[in-house]
């Protein structure tokens, strides 16, 4: 389990990451989401030891990361943004080098390399210099180098950028499989990706965490949408008391006298909305749990 407490990082006078705290459980895929320049990459760099925080602490299990980063870095696989590689090396040389430097035992090395070549589909260009490869291929080589020592903690900065749709779905399947047992954090700005593979999501904006919840909860919120044949001043008094919070009108829904409203509640209990409406004997056409799209949530949270 990874735990981050009050992590802050300043560059000169600019605060890139501002006092963030969160934790990540193994077996759960956590997505780090945010607009460009929000502090995603800085956060990942802090978690991997490439940067040191201005203040705050990072714990992997009970182990304080900053006191002895090497021990953790042995179990860590980090794929930086843009998948940097040594262009003059062959894929085979690169994987051998990564296996050696990451401390893969000599006996396991051939089987680990073979496995990575297989998983990341590298066999067709195994003895080609990296500079000759396409962007998607390079991305997969970098991923293979990241996972070669079978790390327990995997941190991936935009792992699917530059891949074609087939490769994206392949890599996503791979990540999903890894996420079942490992501690896995990935950053992305593709919202679809978050819905597809992430269990938890942390949204960062301007260095602050603006949301930290499961993807499912983030979607639902506590609102129920209804279509009632009545005006707002008739509907509003019905939902004045707890657990109802407020009623909001959907101006775009207005069909032959039926208007759309959104009822906000302290907790999600659509049956109470139904009971209230039934009692009022107003004509009701539709009642459903309101599901916001991730796009609209993202936009709302990162607008500032």
């Amino acid at each position: 389990m990874l735990r981050v407490e009050n992590l802050t990082r300043k560059f000169q006078n600019k605060v890139a990451v501002n006092n963030i705290s969160f934790s990540v459980k193994p077996g759960v895929i956590t997505g780090l989401l945010g607009p460009n320049g929000a502090g995603k990459t800085t956060t990942m760099r802090l978690l991997t030891g490439y940067l040191e925080p201005s203040s705050g602490s990072i714990y992997y299990g009970t182990h304080a990361f900053l006191e002895d980063p090497i021990t953790i870095q042995q179990k860590l696989g980090y794929l930086p943004e843009s998948a940097p590689l040594y262009p003059e090396m062959l894929i085979s040389e690169y994987l051998n080098y990564m296996a050696d430097i990451r401390g893969v035992a000599t006996l396991d090395k051939p089987s680990r390399i073979e496995k990575m070549v297989d998983i990341c589909e590298l066999s067709s260009h195994y003895n080609t210099p990296i500079s000759f490869l396409s962007k998607g291929f390079k991305q997969r080589v970098a991923l293979a180098g990241t996972l070669i020592h079978d790390p327990e903690i995997i941190i991936l900065d935009e792992p699917t950028s530059g891949l074609d749709p087939n490769q994206i779905s392949h890599i996503r399947t791979l990540i999903k499989g890894l996420g079942k047992e490992k501690t896995l954090i990935l950053s992305t700005h593709i919202l679809q990706e978050v819905e597809d593979i992430c269990d938890e999501v942390i949204i960062i904006n301007q260095g602050n965490i603006v949301a930290n919840s499961s993807v499912k909860n983030l979607h639902s919120g506590f609102s129920v949408s209804i279509q009632v044949g009545a005006e707002l001043n008739q509907v509003k008094p019905l939902f004045a008391a707890q657990p109802f919070l407020s009623v909001e009108e959907f101006p775009e829904i207005n069909e032959s006298g039926f208007k759309g409203y959104l009822v906000h509640m302290t907790e999600l209990k659509p049956e109470l909305v139904f009971a209230t409406l039934a009692k009022s004997s107003l004509p009701v056409r539709e009642l459903k749990v309101f599901k916001r799209s991730l796009e609209s949530i993202f936009e709302e949270l990162t607008r500032k």
Partner: protein, 241 residues
């Protein structure tokens, strides 16, 4: 130790896998042979007709000024530019292991190039009576001086983001170290100050090797110089975090 070896192996293979390494070595070898045998004035081997490599070793520090920056310019700046530094610095290895591995590989590359010049003393040996002890000391000095220049190039490369500025700044630094031991400049500063500057300069300590004198103090000077600069380099790398 294992990590230093892995870094060393990887870096050495970069020198020998890319044409740039061979190009610079051949350029160096061509130039040193030409300057030694034909020279630029009346001091060439064929003019002096003396079976000695004194002239050969006096060209070495001058050629180093161009050759060393070419070897060291890419070492850190290339990692920075391509972003591989981010992978490198998050690997389970210590900063000093990377610095030492990188230094040793560049030094090794230089030593291999220098050993290729052994044909020059062999040629002289065929033509006349050459003192091999003198030549041996000259080579030891050449390799130590090269190590010191490489450490300068390495730290400058870690302070710059691109190869060109690393090259030019290292060239300037090496030139400065060279003229600090250059007699006309030292005379200008007078006895006391001049002597002090000369002590700090690298070329002054190389001089005794060139003359075939083995002075442990000079060996110690070069080794300490390299150690101090590499130590500073580790600090530069840590400072970036």
């Amino acid at each position: 130790m294992r990590n230093i070896k892995t870094i060393f192996r990887k870096e050495v293979s970069t020198y020998f896998n890319t044409p740039i390494g061979y190009i610079f070595s051949s350029f160096f070898l061509l130039l040193i042979s030409f300057l030694f045998f034909y020279g630029l004035g009346g001091n060439s081997f064929w003019d002096l007709k003396i079976a000695s490599l004194e002239q050969f070793f006096s060209w070495i520090p001058i050629l180093y000024i161009i050759f060393i920056p070419a070897i060291t310019m890419r070492i850190w700046s290339e990692e920075e530019k391509s972003g591989t530094i981010e992978v490198l610095m998050t690997l389970p290895i210590r900063d000093y292991e990377i610095v030492i591995g990188k230094f040793l590989s560049a030094w090794m590359f230089l030593t291999v190039t220098i050993l290729c010049t052994l044909l020059a003393p062999l040629t002289v040996r065929i033509l006349g009576d050459l003192d091999f002890g003198l030549v041996f000391m000259g080579y030891i000095g050449t390799i130590l001086l090269g190590g010191a220049y490489i450490s300068i190039g390495l730290i400058i490369s870690s302070l710059t983001r691109d190869q060109i500025s690393a090259f030019i700044l290292t060239l300037l630094a090496c030139f400065l170290m060279f003229i600090m031991g250059y007699q006309p400049i030292l005379k200008f500063f007078g006895n006391f100050l001049g002597g002090f500057i000369a002590f700090l300069s690298l070329s002054q300590h190389f001089e005794s090797f060139r003359m075939g004198v083995f002075d442990p103090r000079d060996v110690l000077y070069f080794i300490s110089f390299i150690k101090v600069i590499l130590f500073l380099n580790v600090f530069v790398i840590r400072g970036k975090k």
